[in-house]
C-alpha cells in the first residue's frame, strides 16, 4: 500500500492553506484564459513564470499546472454558450454543445461537461499516481543512448500528431533544436551563435521564445482577422441533466476518459488530440450518428472528458522521464529548472513531496473547478463581452513585463519581439510553432546525450541499435514515420484534423 502512503503525503502537502490558495489562483486564471479566445495556456504560463520566483517550488508548480487543466474547463464553457472555442481542445465541443444550448439545454450541457471533466480528472490523477513510479523505475535503466532514442521517438511522434505538413514540422523541429544550442557549449565553453551579444551566452530564454511565438504573433494575427465576436447568450434554465441525459452520457464519459488519458501520454499529444479522437469515437459507436451536430449529449461528454484526462496524463512523461510532450510541458520543464529542479525520474525519489504534492493538487484543482465554475458561468460569459481592443493592450503589457522581469533584461524583450515576428511569418506560411518549442527545449539535452552515448561506445554509432531498449524506441519511431507516409493513413490523418 505504498500508493496510499504516497497519496497521503501528497495530500498533506497539497492541502496546506497556501497550496490550496495557489491551486485556486491557478485554476481560476486557467478558466479565465480558457474563456478568452486569443490567449492560451502557453503564453499565460510564460507570463506568470517570473511571478513564481519567490514562491516555494511546489506552490509554483501547483499553480502553473492548474492553469493548464483549468483552461480546459473554461474553453468548454464558451464553446457551449456562445459557439466560440476558447481553446483548441474545445473546438469539437462547439458542434453539439452549442446545438444543445440553442435548444435551451445549455445547463445540462455545461453540467455534463463539468462532471465528465471531474470524473476524467479523478481517474487520470489515479493513473498518474499508479503508473508514474514504475515508469520512473524503467527510466533509471536508461543510458545516454536510450535517452537520445527516446527523444527521437518523442520528436517524431510530435511531428506525426501535429497538423499541417509533415516536412514543415520536421524543419520546425530542426530549427528549434538549433535555437536551443545558442549560448556557451556545456562541454567546451565555446560560444555558439551568440553574435557577440553577452546576453546570449546563457542561451535564449524559453519564455522569450514561447512568448514571441505564442503570445505576440497571436496578437498580431488576431488583429488582422478582426473577426466579429457576437455574443449571443443562450439562456440557462436549469443546470440539472435529466435522467436520460445521464444515461446517454455516462458511457461516453468513460470512453472519453480512456482515450484522452491514453493520447495524453503520447508525445505530441495532450488535451487537443484526445478531444478530437473522442468525438470521432462517439460518432462511430452511436446507434444513430446523424444526431451528432444537432445536440447529442455524448458529443459533449466524450470530448470534454477526454481533453481533461489528456491534459493531466501529459504530465506523466514530464514527471517520470523529464521529457516534454507538448508546448505547455516544455514550459513546465523551464519552470522546474528555474526553481532548481532537474526534471527526470530522480524527482520522485529525491523530491517526493514535490511529485506527490503536485499530483494530489490536481485532484483538488478539479474539485475546485467543479464547485467554482458552475456558479460563476454568468461572470465568464460577461467577460466575453469585453472587446478585444481593450484586452490585447493589457495582454501586451503583461507579456512585456513578464519577459523583462525574468532576467531584468531589455534585450530579452527585444528578442521576444524578433520571435514574435518570426512566429507571425510562420502563421502566415502555415507552420505550427509547437514542434519548434519542443525542439528548442530538447536541443541541448539531445546533443548532450548523443555526445555521451558516442563517447561511451568509442565513436561506434551502432550503439543506438545494439542496445535493446534504444533499438525498440528507434523502431517505434521508424514505424510511426512509415505509417504516416503510407498514403491511406495520410488521407485519414487529414480527415481527422479537418473535422
Amino acid at each position: 500500500m505504498e500508493l496510499l502512503a504516497n497519496l497521503q503525503l501528497g495530500f498533506e502537502i497539497a492541502l496546506t492553506l497556501q497550496n490550496i490558495l495557489y491551486c485556486l489562483v491557478g485554476v481560476f486564471l486557467g478558466t479565465l484564459i480558457g474563456v478568452l479566445p486569443g490567449i492560451g495556456p502557453v503564453a499565460t504560463i510564460a507570463m506568470l513564470l517570473p511571478a513564481t520566483f519567490t514562491l516555494p517550488p511546489v506552490s509554483a508548480l501547483i499553480m502553473l499546472a492548474g492553469i493548464y487543466y483549468g483552461a480546459q474547463y473554461g474553453g468548454s464553457t464558451t464553446a457551449i454558450l456562445v459557439n466560440l472555442p476558447g481553446e483548441a481542445s474545445s473546438v469539437v465541443t462547439c458542434l453539439d454543445g452549442y446545438a444543445m444550448a440553442r435548444q435551451g439545454r445549455a445547463g445540462p450541457a455545461l453540467a455534463i461537461a463539468a462532471l465528465g471533466s471531474f470524473f476524467a480528472g479523478t481517474v487520470s490523477t489515479l493513473i498518474l499516481a499508479m503508473f508514474a513510479p514504475p515508469l520512473a523505475e524503467i527510466a533509471f535503466k536508461f543510458g545516454p543512448a536510450e535517452y537520445f532514442s527516446l527523444m527521437v521517438l518523442g520528436l517524431i511522434a510530435a511531428i506525426v500528431l501535429a497538423h499541417g505538413s509533415l516536412i514543415n514540422a520536421i524543419a520546425m523541429i530542426l530549427l528549434g533544436l538549433l535555437l536551443g544550442l545558442v549560448g556557451a557549449d556545456t562541454n567546451t565553453g565555446q560560444f555558439r551563435f551568440t553574435f557577440g551579444l553577452p546576453q546570449l551566452t546563457d542561451g535564449i530564454g524559453f519564455v522569450v521564445v514561447a512568448m514571441g511565438l505564442f503570445g505576440f504573433s497571436e496578437i498580431i494575427a488576431n488583429l488582422e482577422r478582426r473577426a466579429k465576436r457576437e455574443v449571443v447568450m443562450a439562456k440557462i434554465t436549469s443546470l440539472f441533466p435529466t435522467r436520460d441525459d445521464l444515461k446517454a452520457s455516462w458511457k461516453a464519459v468513460l470512453r472519453g476518459t480512456g482515450i484522452g488519458a491514453l493520447l495524453g501520454i503520447l508525445p505530441g499529444g495532450g488535451a487537443t488530440l484526445g478531444s478530437f479522437a473522442a468525438y470521432a469515437l462517439e460518432k462511430k459507436v452511436a446507434k444513430d450518428p446523424t444526431r451528432f451536430g444537432k445536440g447529442a449529449i455524448e458529443g459533449v461528454a466524450g470530448p470534454e472528458s477526454a481533453n481533461n484526462a489528456g491534459a493531466q496524463t501529459s504530465f506523466i512523461p514530464l514527471l517520470t522521464l523529464g521529457i516534454p510532450t507538448n508546448a505547455v510541458m516544455a514550459l513546465m520543464i523551464g519552470a522546474m529548472t528555474i526553481h532548481g529542479i532537474t526534471p527526470g525520474p530522480q524527482v520522485m525519489t529525491e523530491r517526493p513531496e514535490l511529485f506527490w504534492g503536485m499530483i494530489a493538487s490536481m485532484w483538488i484543482g478539479n474539485l475546485l473547478l467543479v464547485v467554482l465554475n458552475l456558479p460563476l458561468i454568468g461572470i465568464w460569459v460577461k467577460l466575453l463581452s469585453v472587446p478585444y481592443r481593450i484586452l490585447y493592450p493589457a495582454i501586451l503589457l503583461f507579456s512585456c513585463i513578464g519577459v523583462y522581469s525574468l532576467n531584468n533584461s531589455a534585450v530579452d524583450v527585444a528578442l521576444a519581439l524578433a520571435f514574435g515576428f518570426l512566429g507571425y511569418l510562420f502563421i502566415k506560411f502555415d507552420c505550427e510553432p509547437a514542434p519548434l518549442l519542443l525542439g528548442f527545449v530538447l536541443g541541448p539535452m539531445m546533443e548532450e546525450n548523443l555526445r555521451r552515448a558516442l563517447l561511451l561506445s568509442r565513436g561506434d554509432p551502432t550503439v543506438f541499435v545494439t542496445r535493446p531498449l534504444s533499438l525498440a524506441l528507434l523502431v517505434a519511431a521508424a514505424a510511426l514515420l512509415v505509417i504516416v507516409v503510407v498514403p491511406a493513413v495520410r488521407r485519414k490523418r487529414a480527415e481527422a484534423f479537418q473535422e
Binding site: 501586451l396 512585456c400 518570426l422 502566415k428
Partner: protein
C-alpha cells in the same frame, strides 16, 4: 513550360528554413568539429544546419509542383505597431522607467487596432499604469525604475 510557384506559403516557409539552416551551418563551420568520439561544439549544429537547409530546398521544390493556398493579405498596421510598441518598451524600460514605458506600450499598441477609441485608450493607459506601478512594482516587488530620474 515555365516554372511557377504553385504553393506560395510553402515556398516562403522553405526559404526561411533554407536561410536559417545555411546560416547555422556557415557559422558552425568555424567551431571545432571534433570527431564522432569526441564531438566538438561545431559537430551537432553543423549537422542540423545542413539538414535544415536541405529540407528548406526540398520544401521550395515541392512548392513548385504541388498546389497550395495563397498567402493571406497582411495588415502592415497591426504588424508594425504591435512590434513597434514592444520595441519601444524594450528601449525605454531601463532608461525612462516603467511609467513612460507602459504608457508608450499601451498607447502605441492600442493604435494597432482600427477599432480603438481615443477615450477608451486613455482610460486603459491610466488603469494599466496603476497596475504596473501598484501591482508589479510595489505589490510583486519587481525592480522597476518608476520615473526617469
Amino acid at each position: 513550360m515555365s516554372i511557377s510557384i504553385r504553393s506560395p506559403r510553402d515556398f516562403c516557409a522553405g526559404l526561411i528554413f533554407l536561410f536559417f539552416g545555411a546560416l547555422a551551418a556557415y557559422i558552425a563551420r568555424d567551431y571545432p568539429m571534433g570527431s564522432a568520439v569526441r564531438m566538438g561544439p561545431g559537430y551537432f549544429p553543423y549537422l542540423l544546419g545542413i539538414l535544415l537547409a536541405l529540407l528548406g530546398v526540398v520544401i521550395c521544390i515541392k512548392s513548385l509542383v504541388a498546389h497550395g493556398e495563397r498567402i493571406e493579405s497582411a495588415s502592415l498596421r497591426a504588424l508594425l505597431l504591435v512590434l513597434g510598441a514592444i520595441g519601444v518598451f524594450a528601449g525605454t524600460i531601463e532608461s525612462a522607467g516603467i511609467v513612460i514605458a507602459t504608457a508608450l506600450l499601451v498607447g502605441i499598441g492600442a493604435a494597432a487596432s482600427p477599432e480603438s477609441r481615443l477615450r477608451e485608450v486613455v482610460v486603459l493607459i491610466v488603469f494599466m499604469l496603476a497596475l504596473a506601478v501598484g501591482l508589479f512594482t510595489y505589490g510583486l516587488g519587481l525592480p522597476f525604475k518608476i520615473f526617469p530620474i
